[in-house]
Subunit: 310 residues, 2 copies
């Protein structure tokens, strides 16, 4: 098997993790989370999203959060946007990297955005042009890239088509997102290998949810396909309104723990991330899908004396 | 990446799953579990263990369970034993396949068995000779093969040494067990590839716990190293007394779901296994680490109408 020396990690907890939580975090808590991740060495952080506050009330204060955070040089602070208004808000808050998400499934696009894929792409044109004119970088994400809870399997031809549309807009950084945790390792390896070869100019991210327990298995497949950029969410927050009871994003601490055990460099302090994940779990006030928070790290060895006491 | 066409699956829930449970299942419940797994198509089932009832009270009725179960032709019903007495009990209960477990870590051997590795191996001689004389097959397991909660990393040289000892006893079916969930995919790939090449006569099993969420990732690595035999436990029961709060064995239904999604044949009816896992979860009376029990299968698609109601 082939392993990279280094993985570029993106923390999406402040956005994808919190957007489905019933408990609303304060601006201060969100800022502490983002600053904590940056201090731990995370190079890319998804700060929030500039979407309609009625659609996602959890993200209504993203402007405030973005303005409040102490920025570290070299760290990329990015936000999700859905239209030109979002880009305006991002720029006004000092965010210079925005992300546009498009579902690979027509049914999912309509359920989530109330628009067809074609309509969404049409809106992205104005949005991207405006961002580029104003010096903001734009990346893209293909959601339900590996399966849709309404439609099932997504043909790879659909991913090719959407990637081409994104590239026509001048977007060359793209994430393939397994929004509801339907990807399997064989599919990830085949799809990621194919897409990398088909679009060598694209910087690919992979974004896995752990809904059916396959997220880290999928990451292993992604690494072997040569993808080195991965999203995850502290404490495994996240989930999807269309998969009741499902786990959320794969937990950042689980991913970083696995990478450390494998000797793959991330530049991130695992212990600081674990502490941050624990804090976040307390703030949201419920258990989350994080193995490392439950069981500890491999390196937390116990002495025989401790064992006898148990 | 390389995938096999077929995986040989062993259900260890009735033994490894139940041996740490506070709730004791009845003989009838255990028999229903074992018969249910066989009816679902599981080719190998670990029925229980013949060890001292004071050491593992959960397994005290293994004799009764083994006698009670309706046997399907072609299914292997195997039990754990630790000494000659265990083999005698196995034979008296109609069990003709026994498994001997040896820890790769001296500290873990002493904590679990109150004996050194050398002393245990000495005992295995009598045990194996007696089993072979009486027509019982013997397999072996190397526990803490990928790491020990007391000692940390286990050198591969130790696995080689133990494998040689097992082979001297005429045992050529061996499992490498990640008893407390410390294995990582790179290590599994390297170790499994090396051991397969070093001991081509051995039929290898891999046995993963999902303590740090890496079990299915490790399976992907094992599959790529050419190992096709895997243990798992219905509902993800199991765990280890030395890893408080830790998850147990990887859930059978999660493993079988992943394999089905990957197009790898097991000959097992996933839906029957899911129903059995749900039943087992009710019997033990607590939540367990099973993603598929929480979130359902990939193929459980929802209609847009259902989604709107949520």
């Amino acid at each position: 098997m082939n392993w990279p020396e280094k993985v570029i990690f993106c923390e999406v907890g402040p956005r994808d993790g919190l957007q489905n939580e019933k408990t609303l975090l304060s601006v201060e808590q969100k800022a502490a989370l983002i600053e904590g991740a940056a201090d731990a060495g995370v190079p890319i952080i998804e700060v929030g999203s500039f979407v309609h506050p009625k659609a996602v009330p959890q993200m209504a204060d993203t402007d405030e959060v973005a303005k409040k955070i102490r920025r570290l040089p070299g760290v990329e602070y990015r936000c999700l946007v859905a239209n030109k208004k979002g880009v305006e808000r991002a720029l006004a808050s000092g965010i210079t990297k925005v992300k546009l998400t498009l579902s690979a499934s027509e049914s999912h696009a309509r359920a989530n955005m109330k628009k067809s894929i074609a309509e969404l792409l049409e809106g992205f044109k104005e949005c991207t042009a405006f961002a580029h004119e104003n010096g903001a970088a734009v990346s893209g994400a293909i959601s339900t890239a590996f399966g849709c809870p309404f439609e099932g399997k997504i043909p790879v031809a659909k991913l090719v088509e959407i990637t081409e549309k994104f590239m026509e807009l001048g977007i060359t950084e793209l994430s393939m997102s397994d929004t509801t945790g339907m990807a399997n390792p064989r599919q990830v390896y085949d799809t990621a290998s194919f897409m990398r070869e088909k679009f060598p100019a694209v910087r690919w991210f992979l974004h896995f949810h752990n809904t059916r327990g396959m997220a880290l298995a999928n990451m292993v497949a992604g690494l072997n396909a040569g993808i080195i950029r991965y999203d995850a969410s502290l404490a495994g927050l996240g989930g999807c309104p269309f998969a009741p009871g499902a786990s959320g994003n794969v937990a950042s601490e689980d991913m970083l723990h696995m990478l450390r055990e494998m000797g793959i460099e991330t530049g991130i302090d695992l212990d600081r991330m674990i502490a941050l994940a624990r804090q976040l779990q307390q703030w949201v006030g419920h258990c989350t899908d994080s193995s490392v928070l439950r069981a500890g790290k491999n390196s937390d060895l116990i002495s025989r004396t401790e064992a006898k006491k148990q």
